[in-house]
């Protein structure tokens, strides 16, 4: 008796949580090599449908506890595009400050707590803490500062409350910004020590020709808004993001994949580094020189090194933004009223893990008609798999343990949300 089975997965959404790596090598031939994403869908796009536009950023920020500001900002930018609302310079500056802080928060934790233990052949940051207590203390210290910046402007550490369409419902005081500036300036030593530590680590040597994609702007290292750029050439308005992402489905993955001019592309710190290097703060460029990195870097493991460089940049940028805010003073600004017109809009941001798109249609009644959210981790999955396909044959002679370790480190280097789960990795050797 034979059984025919057709599995048809509708309404697939995004990745968050577990992933399985499957590698089958038979008689030296790589037969199968893939990343199975088996996490259940999140259904955020469905959750947004029918909700008043004022709720969108609050719902969307719940997609992630680490990139909550990122999702909230992309959501607000999409709504503002749809409603033709133009944020003031003050709003732009406050959002930039929160963004710098969130990227710092995410990167410091990722590099020290998720990536660094591998270099010491340790299983966790607790083990690392007994070997390098000063380093781990430093990470917690910087994380606290970053969280406090977000809390001061956003109203709390996670899931900002004060951010809204066209501005803020509560503003920090100039004194609070001055305090943050002092703490940011005092953190420079911690960032220098971070560069000093990470540049000495034995980064794996691996390269693959890769297309890198990130937002760019003519005059700054882009995190919020910009045009979409590729190392293969081309610029796209964010409204045309679908021409870049080109999502498709795979049977072994509950997350969609993306591709552009090659079979896959990479987003994230390394992509931003490669495309926006000229706009890095001088201290960040110095850090890049310490790592011996300049565009175009094609080693995905160095995505974490690019994160260290971005941390230096974000501290300096945050200080600059504080200076501007202090010089301008903080002023109450009226928030926009809804004009009662239908609109569509795309918000694009560079969150810690890469380019994030929120795409909304808002009806004339102010309710969300439809939403599309493409997160960075989903955009990296095909590229991660392509890296695995190239890497495994190159290192297969090192034995199962080494190959397993190298693959784990590769996945972590991408800083995907799936590696945040403890039991995510399942490698089968045949």
């Amino acid at each position: 008796m034979t059984t025919t089975m057709n599995i048809d997965v509708h309404y697939v959404t995004r990745v968050e949580g577990h992933g399985n790596i499957v590698v089958n090598v038979k008689n030296g031939t790589l037969e199968d090599c893939r990343l199975d994403i088996v996490e259940t869908p999140r259904f955020f796009e469905a959750l947004l449908r029918g909700r008043p536009y004022t709720e969108a950023s609050h719902i969307a920020s719940r997609i992630c506890g680490i990139c909550a500001v990122g999702h909230a900002t992309a959501s607000l930018r999409a709504t503002e595009q749809a409603l033709e609302v133009h944020p003031s310079e003050q709003t732009r500056l406050l959002r930039k400050l929160m963004f710098d802080a969130e990227i710092l928060d995410s990167h410091i934790l990722h590099t020290y707590m998720l990536v660094a233990p591998d270099f010491y052949k340790l299983g966790s940051v607790i083990a690392l803490a007994s070997v390098e207590p000063e380093a781990v203390s430093r990470a917690l210290r910087v994380k606290k500062l970053a969280g406090d910046v977000c809390a001061t402007i956003g109203g709390r550490h996670t899931h900002p409350i004060t951010m809204t369409v066209g501005g803020f419902t509560h503003l920090p005081t100039v004194e609070e910004i001055q305090t943050l500036r002092t703490r940011l300036e005092d953190s420079r030593k911690d960032l220098d020590d971070t560069v000093a530590l990470f540049k000495t680590l034995p980064w794996p040597q691996f390269e693959r020709e890769t297309e890198y994609i990130a937002l760019t702007k003519p005059d700054e290292y882009a995190f919020i808004d910009g045009t979409i750029a590729s190392t293969e050439g081309g610029h796209y308005e964010t409204a045309d993001y679908l021409r870049v992402t080109n999502e498709y489905l795979l049977p072994h993955s509950s997350a969609k994949r993306t591709r552009h001019q090659r079979g896959s592309y990479m987003v994230g710190a390394l992509a931003r580094f490669n495309l926006n290097f000229e706009h890095l703060h001088p201290r960040a460029k110095d850090a890049a020189a310490e790592f011996g990195m300049k565009p175009t870097v094609k080693n995905p493991y160095l995505n974490s090194a690019a994160q260290v460089i971005e941390m230096v940049h974000c501290v300096e940028d945050a200080i600059n933004v504080c200076n501007e805010l202090i010089a301008r003073g903080i002023h109450t600004e009226a928030l926009p009223k809804f004009a009662g017109k239908r609109g569509v809009g795309v918000g694009a941001c560079e969150v810690p893990r890469g380019t994030l798109y929120h795409d909304y249609e808002i009806g004339a009644d102010g309710k969300i008609v439809s939403a599309n959210c493409i997160i960075p981790t989903g955009q990296n999955l095909a590229n991660l798999e392509a890296d695995m396909h190239k890497l495994v044959p190159e290192i297969i002679d090192q034995g199962e343990e080494q190959v397993t370790s190298a693959l784990e480190m590769l996945v972590r280097a991408y800083d995907p949300c799936i590696s945040c789960s403890v039991h995510w990795l399942n490698i089968q050797f045949v």
Binding site: G65, L109, L114, S419, S421, V422
Partner: protein, 160 residues
Amino acid sequence: MKPILILGLGNLLQGDDGVGCRVAQELEKRTLSDTIQVIDGGTPGIGLLNLLEGHQRAMIIDAAEMGMIPGEFKRLSAEDVLRAGAAQRISLHHTGITDTLALARELRIPLPEIVFFGVQPALIDWADGLSPQVQAAIPHVIDAILSEIGQAGEVPPAHR
């Protein structure tokens, strides 16, 4: 910063995992001594260290799998919790109390004197509200906490 912290931890969306939060919410309705701060801490991960900072004594309430009857609860020391074993790998989303305390110990971060009240859950799964057994335990947990620190919020001599 008040000397005594009563901190309820857990996830209100996961049934009995929210017992710590509910205890904190109940205590917030009461008038307690000025020396006591009550916090519904949710699931703070590494942020637990920030919540504990600056207090001299902390009572932490959370659901705990102790092999007991649902609704039963137990007073545990920080040592008891640490001995339960830290996870091999920490994730940003799942840093638990044990991991956080182990980390604080390695880093010699000064912590308040910590007492845990572990409440045995009946069900930890997507559920709105506590099981009847755990709901019924809340007044008793509160009594135990307040006895621990003294009704007026002062530490009884025997515990100093």
